[in-house]
């Protein structure tokens, strides 16, 4: 068999990662809380069994699972284990895609040779290796396409594996899985398919390709091909270029004070320029998105004079956007800054009147790399003392670079 693709997915990764360093958390229901401590962002299977779901507020989770233990998230630690998993997988496969913090696609043809045994035993040995070397339980799927491999690992959870090379096995799995389980088929796409009487993956695979393309565009068509076992979505060993880079999130409550709002704006901009610098991008357009307490949101964007990653230039643009949107007195709960129209440094068109070079930004980056993240930061962020006094806020999931997915 040639061109096999594997999908390896950690089981309840954040909870498992906490259990690696705190083994006494094993077998007890644990929930990992998000950036503000309000919602469960991940939970152990014991907590899931008691009805706690992801994104459930902690006070609701407590009513479902009063014996549950809640843990503050630590993305720095999760990254350590994630990189360890990536490194381990690269020992056994020449091509690995770092899909997300706890998911990897990989070329699986070499597994038999690596472990010196038939494929099913090799997959089982790989799974055992992860538990022994990293301490994290994983589920693995191997098949002829990404979509089938992922279906294989998802349906094998927890701590299982599926090798889907036999047509009968694949057909059985496709009959059992609803289309909503497929990556790329969201709620709306599932509704569109349901209108055509397509509810299971088997029904989608049996549908007319052109009909699926008309309904779900080329992305839907790719899924259709992958369900036939034909690999059309390649493993991406290197992260494809971004369409945009964004930083932001919850403001940890409703903010009305303009100084505090400005503090958040500059914090998000410092994180954004840091990301642009790390990826080697310059942006030609900056967009500010705000969400209000009542969940209504609006956004505004500004075209820049040429492409830049300079904090000095972008901070003027960001402040101008905030001024134009003028949320004065209206409680703001979420903020995102999005850098669009990205160019790598070599690609950008030089402006007639060149912008500042951003050397202060680079110097700040060097100082922070040597001393610690945010050691040197804008005075505007002094309005957020608590945020900076808690080191856990220094590292968020988007600060883990190289993943192809968020």
């Amino acid at each position: 068999m040639k061109n096999l693709i594997g999908h390896l997915d950690a089981d309840c990764f954040y909870a498992s990662a906490e259990r690696v360093r705190f083994p006494h958390l094993k077998r007890i229901p644990i929930g990992i809380l998000g950036n503000q401590g309000a919602c469960v962002i991940a939970k152990s299977y014991e907590m899931k069994a008691r009805g706690v779901t992801t994104a459930m507020p902690v006070w609701e989770a407590v009513s479902h699972c009063p014996e549950g233990v809640y843990v503050k998230r630590d993305f720095q630690w999760y990254e350590v284990l994630s990189r360890k998993m990536l490194e381990l997988l690269r020992r056994y496969s020449p091509t690995v895609e770092y899909y997300s913090i706890d998911e990897f696609f990989f070329e699986a043809d070499c597994l038999e040779q690596s472990f010196g045994c038939p494929l099913p035993e090799a997959v089982a040995t790989l799974q055992k290796e992860f538990l022994e070397q990293v301490g994290v339980p994983v589920s693995i799927g191997v098949s002829t396409s990404r979509i089938l491999a992922k279906l294989g690992s998802d349906s094998a959870k927890p701590y299982g594996w599926h090798v889907l090379t036999e047509p009968e096995l694949i057909a059985k799995l496709l009959r059992e899985q609803p289309v909503g389980e497929l990556t790329g088929i969201g709620f709306r796409s599932a509704l569109k398919l349901e209108a055509l009487g397509i509810k299971t993956c088997a029904e989608l695979a049996a549908a007319d390709r052109k009909t699926i393309r008309d309904l779900l565009t080329v992305k839907g068509e790719a899924i259709w091909y992958e369900l036939q076992g034909e690999s059309v979505i390649p493993i991406q060993a290197n992260r494809p270029p971004h369409k945009c880079v964004a930083r932001g999130g919850s403001l940890g409550g409703c903010v009305t004070d303009p100084e505090v709002l400005n503090g958040w704006l500059i914090r998000n901009l410092e994180r954004l320029t840091e990301a642009l610098f790390a990826y080697g991008y310059q942006c030609g357009c900056l967009c500010l998105e705000l969400q209000l307490k009542d969940r209504t949101g609006w956004s505004r964007q500004l075209l820049l004079h040429g492409h830049t990653d300079a904090f000095e230039v972008l901070s003027l643009a960001a402040r101008k956007l905030l001024q134009q949107m003028d949320p004065a007195g209206t409680p703001v709960s979420y903020m995102h800054l999005v850098a669009k129209d990205l160019r790598t440094a070599g690609q950008r068109q030089l402006a007639l009147f060149e912008q500042p070079s951003g050397c202060a930004n680079r110097l700040k980056h060097q100082v922070n790399q040597a001393i610690g993240r945010f050691a040197l930061r804008s005075g505007a962020t002094l309005t957020l003392p608590e945020l900076y006094s808690d080191q856990a806020h220094d590292h968020e999931i988007c600060d883990i670079y190289g993943k192809t997915c968020f």
Binding site: H24, R27, G37, V58, K72, G252, E386
Partner: protein
Amino acid sequence: MVGVSLLRSEIPERLIIQQNLQHWLVRRSGQAAEEIRFLWRVRRALLPVWYHNELSVFEWGNKDRHNRLPCGAYLMQEELKSGCWQNSEPVEVPANFGLANHVWFHVVGGFRGILLRDRHGNAHVYLLMQPASHYYQVMTRSKRMPLFIGPGI
């Protein structure tokens, strides 16, 4: 803060027997490790304490209004700094889990506390509290949080 839980494996067997802690043994699920729960709401509330390099169990705070000691389970750090309670001894309260407003949370290094003695010389241990961080406040809906030893919340 109304509860502290410590793994049974971290408490010497002789202390469990001596202080009759067996009936405070619990498991959070069938195969989980056994814990001993120290809850404020029980009639005679106790706390585990590292005292003179030894794990001991002392009375938690004070529930007797006639006693000259402060009533309650904790003291604010500011009160202590202002010199209200002379002759207090700093102690460490080991914990694997803490309980506040029905929320059990994970604890890495334990809590800071102080030991005061009543007129009979009996030891009473109070947890030291401070204004809650935003994270702790959102998580437990409490305005005060304990002083953590090691990483806080």
